[in-house]
């Protein structure tokens, strides 16, 4: 079966979407990513969509679902490289993708995830000391 590869980068997962996905492939990716987050205990997910020339409500829903699922599993999601024409179209479509952070490229996305991971780790140890 056709699949989008998921790479592990330290505590994070990276998926780079380079093909025009049919709906089943979108759902497979959603399931695969969720499973890998659990398996690897990843703390962050980078989804590179710079190769997508459109995001419709089906793909938008997947991005939202992944981010929601990741949050429950204590991982943060950053969407990378959304083309400006795609971002403008998404707003008009009516999709705001609440709770999804975006970054220009993978480096910036990694910076975001690392910073947020450090913050969360500090909160955790501060909480431990207090408790």
């Amino acid at each position: 079966m056709e699949r989008i590869p998921i790479l592990k980068l330290g505590p994070f997962l990276l998926v780079s979407i380079q093909v025009d996905m049919h709906d089943r492939l979108v759902l497979t990716l959603q399931d695969d990513l969720t499973e890998r987050i659990v398996q690897t205990r990843a703390r962050g997910v980078l989804i590179d969509i710079s190769g997508l020339d459109m995001v419709d409500s089906f793909i938008g829903r997947m991005l939202g679902n992944i981010a929601g699922m990741a949050r429950i599993l204590d991982a943060e999601t950053v969407v990378i490289g959304m083309q400006p024409s795609v971002a403008i179209t998404l707003v008009e479509l009516g999709l705001s993708l609440p709770g999804i952070r975006t970054a220009l490229n993978i480096d910036r996305g990694m910076d975001l995830l690392r910073a947020s991971l450090e913050e969360r780790t500090e909160d955790f140890s501060a909480g431990n000391q207090a408790g």
Binding site: D20, M21, H22, D23, R24, D53, M54, V55, D56, S57, F58, G60, R61, Q83, S85, V86, I88, T89, E92, L93, G94, L95
Partner: protein
């Protein structure tokens, strides 16, 4: 209004929905739509093709080039012979879905197009026509 048929595609599978996106992109590039307008009409087409497949039990799209007093446009007509839409106003409402979608397809396609028409009859099918003009 002079309209030239560019082609028609049947929508009977998820792969056909991808095929519609790609054909509409080619047509949009061909008539000289800018990147944002290309993306808008391709996204609208993706929503309507999926609706024809999922709710209309398959259908087809007619792609036409328009020419009117020197300006060019693209017209897409989606048609299926599925169950039809009992309450169009409700179906057009953002957030309404009878399935598992986000309920943004019809409303979104309307916002992403310059012109939008929908005709539906219960038991007979649905036809949605959208147009995007070159600005």
């Amino acid at each position: 209004m002079p309209a030239t048929k560019r082609g028609s595609l049947s929508i009977r599978s998820q792969d056909d929905v991808v095929g519609v996106r790609q054909a509409v992109r080619r047509a949009a590039v061909d008539i000289g739509l800018n990147l944002i307008d290309q993306t808008k009409i391709v996204t609208a087409a993706s929503e309507l093709a999926r609706n024809a497949f999922v709710y209309g039990r398959g259908g087809e799209v007619l792609i036409e080039d328009l020419q009117e007093s020197g300006r060019r446009g693209l017209r897409l007509s989606f048609e299926d012979h599925g169950p039809g839409i009992p309450d169009i106003q409700k179906a057009m409402t953002d957030g309404y879905t009878s399935g598992t979608g986000l309920g943004l397809g019809l409303g979104g396609a309307k916002r992403l197009s310059d012109e939008f028409q929908i005709f539906s009859e219960e038991g007979a099918g649905t036809r949605v026509v959208i147009t995007r003009w070159k600005s």
